[in-house]
């Protein structure tokens, strides 16, 4: 990973990759959601509201994957002092928070017609809400440290500590008697309880949103690296 520690080398890859990820992601999202909204089957229990799953589940996965990315970046910053790790962590935080909020909102909209309630303080929903608060806290801490000219060590420690919420979210439907259903998708062959006609658009949607997420992270990293370059140049000019 230290091969890409040099911003110039990183940017050489990031520039073309941003467009590829963005456009490929957008195309897959359109295909998957087009199918999900207009062509996909209704569920015999959930009815038409099953169509919300094609946006809700990818948003949930990305909310959790985002914090996994933050925790990984934090570890790289603290242990290996990778120069781009802090930039990556901060770049992931905003889209991670947005997709977590989308997950909570779409989950509420799915819950009203199916469970009869927009919200329930069960293990899964509460721990996802905690994740959103963690993202907001991370962003506030990162901004405060940057303003004081800090390296972002406290932010990185927060990023690592917050990762404890991820297994809580994942296992909440097993540990507690929750309203939210248990996992329907398993990567062990034959043990998914979701029908194939719903599984493939869900996986395509998840892939599409993941590629778009990658493009957003790269855009935010490129923006921060450019701002750092301007700041450094202005400081140099002021001292001359």
């Amino acid at each position: 990973m230290h091969v890409y520690a040099n911003p110039a080398r990183f940017l050489k890859i990031a520039r073309p990759l941003t467009a590829w990820l963005g456009w490929a992601g957008a195309a897959l999202i359109l295909v998957a959601l087009g199918y999900g909204l207009f062509l996909g089957p209704r569920d015999h229990l959930q009815g038409e509201s099953v169509r919300i799953l094609y946006v809700h589940v990818p948003a949930a996965w990305l909310g959790m994957a985002g914090w996994t990315g933050i925790a990984t970046a934090s570890l790289m910053q603290l242990v290996w002092r990778h120069p781009l790790a802090a930039v990556a962590g901060r770049a992931i935080a905003v889209p991670g928070a947005v997709f977590t909020a989308i997950c909570l909102a779409t989950g509420s909209l799915w819950g009203r017609p199916t469970w009869g309630t927009y919200w329930e303080w069960d293990g899964r929903m509460t721990s996802m809400l905690v994740l959103l608060f963690l993202y907001i806290g991370y962003l506030a801490l990162a901004a405060a440290e940057k303003e004081k000219g800090g390296e972002g060590r406290l932010t990185a420690i927060f990023g690592l500590a917050g990762a404890v919420n991820l297994p809580v979210i994942h296992y909440s439907v097993i540990w507690w008697n929750t309203l939210h259903q248990g996992e329907s998708i398993s990567f062990v062959r034959g043990s998914s309880t979701i029908d194939g006609a719903m599984l493939w658009p869900l996986l395509v949607s998840a892939l599409g949103f993941s590629l778009l997420f990658g493009a957003i992270v790269l855009m935010r990293m490129r923006a921060e690296l450019a701002r750092n370059k301007v700041e450094a140049r202005l400081k140099r000019m002021a001292s001359e």
């Binding site: 963005g22 999202i29 959601l33 909204l37 009815g47 038409e48 509201s49 169509r51 919300i52 946006v55 809700h56 948003a59 905003v94 889209p95 947005v98 997709f99 909020a101 989308i102 909102a105 779409t106 909209l109 799915w110 009203r112 017609p113 949103f209 778009l212 493009a215 957003i216 855009m219 935010r220 490129r222 923006a223 921060e224 450019a226 701002r227 370059k229 301007v230 140049r233 202005l234």
Partner: protein
């Protein structure tokens, strides 16, 4: 109760959120890279 208003609201919120963060990030990137390029051209 029809489920369709909830489905449309969910898709609209997702489109708003995803497009919003994408466009915001793109605009921030273009602005920052343009500033860096302009500063780099100064003697």
């Amino acid at each position: 109760m029809s489920h369709w208003p909830f489905i449309i609201a969910a898709y609209a919120l997702t489109a708003l959120g995803a497009l919003g963060v994408t466009l915001w990030s793109f605009a921030a990137m273009r602005r920052a890279e343009a500033d860096a390029e302009a500063l780099g051209k100064r003697p």
